[in-house]
């Protein structure tokens, strides 16, 4: 039986719309393959799987055990070159892709979505095997949401209208929204399939061609999806998928002169490097980076909901969310009660084998990440924050960290300023609305924020005041495909999902024709 609590919460709040709409039934129990067959381990270029040019590979680890589960091709600069060439060829004027009816582009996305849905159980198992997230999350959240995003974008190609302009003089003027061209897309390891679909969607919808680099920790579901891309019938070269590291493979994509646009999701630190590199060639760039998102709980909230959602906001996906609610500001009046209930809830959080039905939290993605988290926990203790639960590694196999809660955290503690990306909750106290807005905004990040209150005015005024790309009120992690997602300040540039994302993948061309006489 899937853990009712988390499943219900996730279904009710976080991914409600996409999960219910996308999946035929979350009630039907899938057959769970704990050691799924790894079928595709090579680079995907021009609809074919090929070795890397120097035949080198790298190891892929199962973070629940630390064991090597696959050897995957290591894409080099030469391979990036091949992939970009394939994408360029697919994009040339007169190509099948350029000449395709817009609705037909959409039909390919619908087809890909259908194929992912067909193979849902297998892909979910593979995602858990590679990433460590609980299988019930992969199955009920990651895969259905990915499908929903593709289906959302599938409806766009024949609806991206330009404008006819009220120009002065004897002219006829209009805009065309044209695909930017060849795009390079680099994705991280925390939501491998979801973020792959967030990238494929707008690229295909707008008619671009792409070279996608999967994260070196989690290439497996991306390479399986590559096979589905060929099966769906995308022309060769439209979507190319590479496995490889950041500096060489990713760097080559960013630096390649034929890549017109770069989309990167990852850390702020790397985002700055990529942004700087892309700027040298004036490449269009969108970045989805880190966060230290404030979750503000007012005394007049529904306390049960606030406690549960605040827990979810931080601990979901092993705390590995760019928008994790990692600073929980609680109004003085309810602070003690809130802390106590949060600790109780956290103590219940079951950590273990991600294929186990009762598991809520799997391992962190890597030893390195685990060490970083433990180090930050240590810094919290040394700085004087009060550790109420957790704080240690679990076991000595795999990269499990105990769900951890600190209270009495100060704004200047490292755990309150730096992105932890782990299951470590910070609870801070506040007195007034003006104060908490200021403290919430006192960060270089600005990805998300949330407000828990029953008061109409407070909900609107505080939402207006928070400098964050997504503000959630009485909920958290709503990733409906129709809603734009992206950062203020150093949390990023540009928006993903929704109609807003299309602008990042199109160039606007204004055509002005001289005519003999213009009339209105």
């Amino acid at each position: 039986m899937f853990s009712k609590l988390l499943c219900r919460q996730v279904v009710n709040h976080g991914f409600r719309l996409t999960t219910r709409a996308a999946s035929a039934s979350t009630q039907k129990k899938p057959v769970v393959e704990r050691k799924p067959d790894v079928k595709y381990q090579k680079l995907f270029i021009n609809n074919e799987f090929v070795d890397s040019s120097n035949r080198s590979t790298f190891e892929v680890i199962n973070p629940a055990t630390g064991d090597v589960i696959a050897e995957v091709a290591d894409g080099s600069e030469k391979d990036v070159d091949k992939a970009v060439k394939a994408a360029k060829d697919a994009f040339r004027l007169g190509s099948e892709w350029r000449r395709m009816d817009p609705a037909a582009r959409g039909a390919l996305l619908y087809k890909l979505a259908d194929l992912i849905e067909r193979d849902r159980a297998y892909i979910a198992a593979l995602e858990t095997y590679n990433n460590g997230k609980p299988f019930k999350d992969s199955y009920n959240v990651d895969i259905p949401h990915s499908i929903a995003v593709l289906r959302y974008y599938a409806g766009w190609p024949d609806k991206m209208n330009g404008k006819v302009l009220p120009i002065s003089g004897d002219f006829f003027a209009y805009t065309r929204r044209e695909p930017i061209g060849i795009v390079g897309q680099i994705i991280p390891w925390n939501f491998p399939l979801i973020l792959l679909c967030w990238k494929i969607g707008p690229s295909v919808a707008t008619g671009c061609t792409t070279v996608i680099k999967l994260d070196e920790h989690t290439p497996l579901t991306g390479l399986y999806t590559a096979k589905l891309i060929a099966e769906a019938g995308f022309p060769p070269g439209v979507i190319n998928i590479l496995s490889g590291d950041g500096p060489h493979c990713g760097g080559s994509i960013v630096r390649h002169p034929d890549v017109a646009k770069v989309a990167f999701t990852g850390s702020t630190q790397v985002g700055k490097i990529i942004g700087a590199e892309a700027a040298k060639m004036v490449k269009r760039t969108t970045l989805e980076l880190g966060g230290k998102s404030p979750n503000i709980v007012f005394a007049d909230c529904d306390l049960d909901t606030a406690v549960e959602m605040s827990h979810f906001a931080l601990f979901f996906n092993q705390g590995q969310c760019c928008c994790a609610g990692s600073r929980t500001y609680v109004e003085e009046k309810i602070y003690d009660e809130f802390v106590q209930r949060s600790v109780e809830r956290t103590k219940q959080r079951k950590v273990g084998d991600p294929f186990d039905e009762s598991t809520e939290q799997g391992p962190q993605i890597s030893h390195e990440q685990m060490d970083k988290i433990l180090d930050l926990i240590d810094s919290g203790k040394r700085a004087g924050a009060k550790l109420l639960v957790g704080g240690e590694r679990v076991g000595d196999k795999g990269f499990f960290v105990q769900p951890t809660v600190f209270c009495d955290v100060n704004d200047d503690h490292r755990i309150a300023r730096e992105e932890i990306f782990g299951p470590v909750m910070q609870i801070l106290k506040f007195k007034t609305t003006d104060e908490v807005i200021e403290r919430a905004n006192d960060t270089d990040y600005g990805l998300a924020a949330s407000v828990f209150t029953k008061d109409l005015d407070k909900a609107i005024v505080v939402s207006n005041g928070l400098r964050a790309g997504s503000v959630w009120v009485n909920t958290y992690d709503n990733f409906d495909p129709v809603a734009p997602f992206g950062g203020f300040k150093q949390s990023g540039l540009g928006r993903e999902k929704s109609e807003y994302s299309l602008d990042s993948y199109t160039e606007t061309k204004c055509v002005t024709m001289k005519i003999s006489q213009r009339n209105s």
Partner: protein, 491 residues
């Protein structure tokens, strides 16, 4: 030349009753009406005849399905879209059967019926993609205000469709209405109810909740009028003649000011310029008038040809018209089937007579084909003058009228000199001429070097008495939602 003796395969008629609340009902008044096969003039079957009481029943069902807490109102937009895509897939699944049924009832070729069904399925898919892309706005107001708009479904929509494209017209109506979350009462033309009733069964199979789509077969004066005057119908959409369109709008206003959109007739000009590729122009003009047995609101029923190429154009057009294969729509060599009814048939022949009387030159055709069914020979008139009946009134039959012109300023004026304004087309290679025509022709659709260039993403509709409102495209959605402005004062 194919025979007009119909080789109709045995097409099983599955649904002949009134469709309300996902159930089949007999007519309250207990009457049925005859449905005719226009290829033979013979009865296909009897269908339950909906009257005012049945419309009322349907409105009640629709209203309930539209209740604020109903399953339909609570359905996520994406789920609505999925139902629409399911319906589209069912149309494609049953295309073999449906196309034969359409051909049996309407008389268009099986090939044309299939084309209509594919177009219909694509239309539903197109609008399904809009459900999660229709947005209201947040609006910058005063410091202490939050202002936003909601786009809400209008409610119970009455939709009255014609007989020339039964399935296609149904999909053009269902698409935007369902995408916006409305509930529907659709009255198919009394001549062609059969495919609409089958599509109703597909709506149920697709999973639309009861009451969301209701189909009432019946006539105009009783059943259609019941929709136009109903106090609890929020909007009526009508496609048909100008004459009836005016009645619908009047009745709608007098009853409860329900919102109205109309797609009416046309007398659309096709203008062939001197630089036109003659072969291309002749073929284009031929299909622009004769397609669908000329039973199209957009039919190019005034072909203006530049004097420099007039003689050659006329000669080739006559030749092509003579070659057009008229006959049994189930015969794959047929290009043109019958007209829809005896009444239309007589009317068209009447116009042909008037053309002769007014002094136009009958070049070919002008008479019936065969002895059964309502087949008319492709007819070409030359020496047509702007004030002749055949040049002013909508014939809706295979009668091509060719008029001569000398100057482009003159032809634009003549093209616009009509109370209609549905479509227009110009054939030319010249950039400036094309853009000038596009600017000056008073028509909802202007086509350059093409005809009937209708696609799901572009709006379609009339200027002047050809109607108001647009179908298809994003514009098509505008007819199906109400805008609510919400202002929250912040304290």
């Amino acid at each position: 030349m194919s025979s007009t003796n119909s080789k109709a395969p045995n097409v099983e008629i599955k649904y002949t009753q009134i469709f309300i609340n996902n159930e089949w009902h007999k007519a309250t008044a207990g009457k049925t009406f005859q449905v005719i096969n226009p290829s033979t003039g013979e009865e296909i079957c009897q269908v339950e005849e909906g009257t005012r009481v049945d419309v009322d029943k349907a409105v009640q069902a629709a209203r309930k399905a539209f209740d604020i807490d109903s399953p339909w109102r609570k359905l996520e937009p994406v789920a609505r879209g999925n139902l629409m895509r399911k319906l589209a897939s069912l149309l494609r699944r049953d295309i073999e059967y449906l196309s034969k049924l359409e051909t049996l009832n309407n008389g268009k070729s099986v090939q044309d019926s299939k084309g209509d069904i594919f177009f219909s399925a694509d239309c539903l898919d197109y609008y399904a993609g809009w459900v999660d892309k229709m947005v209201g706005e947040t609006i910058p107001g005063a410091q202490d205000q939050m202002i936003y708009t909601r786009h809400e479904p209008i409610g119970v929509c009455g939709q009255i469709i014609p007989w020339n494209y039964p399935i296609l017209m149904m999909s053009w109506k269902l698409g935007p209405a369902l995408a916006c979350g409305n509930v529907i009462i659709l009255k198919p033309a009394e001549q062609t109810p059969l495919t609409a009733l089958y599509v109703a069964s597909l709506c149920k199979e697709a999973g639309f909740p009861p009451g969301v789509v209701n189909v009432i077969p019946g006539d105009g004066p009783e059943c259609g009028n019941a929709i136009s005057v109903h106090q609890d119908i929020d909007k009526v959409a009508f496609t048909g003649s100008v004459e009836v369109g005016k009645k619908v709008q009047e009745a709608a206003a007098k009853s409860n000011l329900k919102r109205v959109s109309l797609e009416l007739g046309g007398k659309s000009p096709l203008i062939i310029c001197e630089d036109a590729d003659l072969d291309h122009a002749v073929k284009l003009a031929h299909r622009a008038i004769f397609g669908n047995a000329a039973q199209r609101c957009t039919a190019a029923s005034r072909t203006f040809v530049h004097s420099k190429i007039y003689d050659e154009f006329v000669a080739r057009s006559i030749e092509l018209a003579k070659k057009r294969v008229v006959g049994d729509p189930f015969d794959s060599s047929t290009e043109q089937g019958p007209q829809i009814t005896a009444e239309q048939f007589e009317r068209i022949l009447g116009y042909i007579e008037s053309g002769k009387k007014d002094g136009a030159k009958l070049e070919c055709g002008g008479e019936r084909v065969g002895k059964k069914g309502y087949f008319i020979k492709p007819t070409v008139f030359t020496n047509v003058k702007d004030d002749m009946k055949i040049a002013r009134e909508e014939i809706f039959g295979p009668v091509m009228s060719i008029l001569k012109f000398d100057s482009y300023e003159e032809v634009i004026k003549r093209a616009n000199n009509t109370t209609f304004g549905l479509a227009a087309s110009v054939v030319t290679k010249d950039l400036t001429r094309a853009l000038t025509f596009a600017q000056r022709l008073q028509a909802g659709s202007v086509w350059v070097n093409d005809y009937d260039a209708v696609c799901n993403q572009a709006p379609f509709g009339g200027y002047k008495q050809s109607g108001h409102g647009r179908e298809l495209g994003r514009y098509g959605l505008e007819e199906y939602y109400e805008v609510k402005t919400v202002v929250i004062k912040l304290i």
